[in-house]
Symmetry: C2
Subunit: 242 residues, 2 copies
């Protein structure tokens, strides 16, 4: 097996996104197309909160494995984006504005009591992956951000149009994310193209992105099973009122 | 065993510093008193570089274990202090100005090839402690910073007076540290006083600070053995020219 050129590697990574990113999941089609009940949108936001809350922990875990101050500095901006610089700022706080806007009790959301086990296991698998795999694979697993600006555009447009319980203010999280995701994914893509030179390293990078797509996909599988069909909510998880 | 009051706990922590902080180590007395050769000062700076280089990795490891965004934000300032906001800034870069000023080759310092095994094991033990113990213990282990402003004052005065190969510019690292150490140790001390309420938790906090004092002490034991008496440099470690 020969090594791919940097351009071929990028094309292979983008192809994974085209085939496996959660934008293609049936739950996202329902969500963006206006076919979800308010309870289903609540369940999505509540479960996604755990992903948001664990992202800085994932990113700090990556920084903690990184010998190079320049890479640590670059990755540190992700901590700033998610945790903010003071109380009430940053991505996690903005996500809680979304769950507030959906009339979910904030203490209940933050307590994680209503979380689907499938969400928890998928998110925790991501954190463990970043802690345990090679640094190159940890960085590559962030590359789903290459595909997120498009999905965020679709989501904002579709959800604002289709749900009267969603407002632009509630959606402040999404208006901030695309430029951050573009900056971060550009850095990670350049890093991967520069550091994955052997066939083995390139395969590990492709597998890392597939893994991450699996994480996001599994989160939506769990939501679909519990709240769309067969609507089997696991014991203890959030039960919508409608 | 009854729980200590917050004030009693603080007094016990300060007592550990008074008895076990590395300011009391024979090597520090030689270093600050002007009794070291240039080669011994080089060996100290070279070995201490590894500690400096691992501090952001230790701090990111702590952030990675921390569920609370406010504590993560507070601890993030330590990453900023050590890694800086751009190339050439921050505590690690300033430490390399010190090793430059001591005429050590920068590539050699950064390569860690000349490091004493005793330094490596002590520093790595600190990182592992922070990764593996309870968050409260990880935070408590940073409390040697309560005692560092005093030692830094002594060090700057003593070394600038006693060594003609040390300049104030070379010592830029130390002029920056005291206000950072005061801010950080105040936060950590408040955290520990607030969170260590049971006798068991308080004992774990006291043990964590003793552990950290042991780390710093063991680093100087290794230096003393290799470069003062019996001057037995382990195979592969830095050999001074004078």
């Amino acid at each position: 097996m020969n090594a791919l050129s940097a351009e071929e590697l990028e094309a292979r990574l983008r192809d994974i996104g085209a085939r496996r990113y959660h934008r293609l999941h049936p739950f996202h089609k329902l969500l963006h197309g206006g076919a979800c009940s308010k309870g289903q949108v609540q369940a999505w936001a509540l479960n996604r909160y755990y992903y948001q809350a664990m992202i800085p922990i994932k990113d700090a875990s990556l920084i903690a494995r990184c010998d190079d101050p320049a890479t640590r500095r670059e990755w540190r901006s992700r901590l700033v984006d998610h945790d903010g610089t003071r109380e009430g700022e940053g991505g996690i706080a903005r996500w809680l504005k979304l769950t507030d806007g959906l009339d979910l009790d904030r203490d209940y959301v933050v307590s994680l009591r209503g979380l689907l086990p499938g969400t928890r296991f998928a998110v925790d698998a991501y954190v463990h992956f970043v802690r345990e795999k090679a640094l190159l694979e940890a960085i590559a697993s962030s590359l789903t951000e290459l595909f997120s600006p498009a999905i965020i555009g679709e989501r904002m447009e579709g959800m604002l149009k289709n749900y009267d319980f969603v407002t632009a203010e509630t959606f402040a999280y999404f208006s901030q994310r695309p430029p951050q995701a573009e900056r971060d994914s550009r850095f990670a893509l350049d890093y991967v193209k520069q550091h994955a030179r052997t066939p083995e390293a390139q395969q590990s990078v492709l597998a890392a992105l597939e893994f991450k797509c699996d994480v996001l996909w599994a989160m939506l599988d769990a939501l679909y099973h519990a709240y769309v069909a067969p609507k089997e909510v696991p014991p203890g998880a959030f039960v919508p009122k409608d």
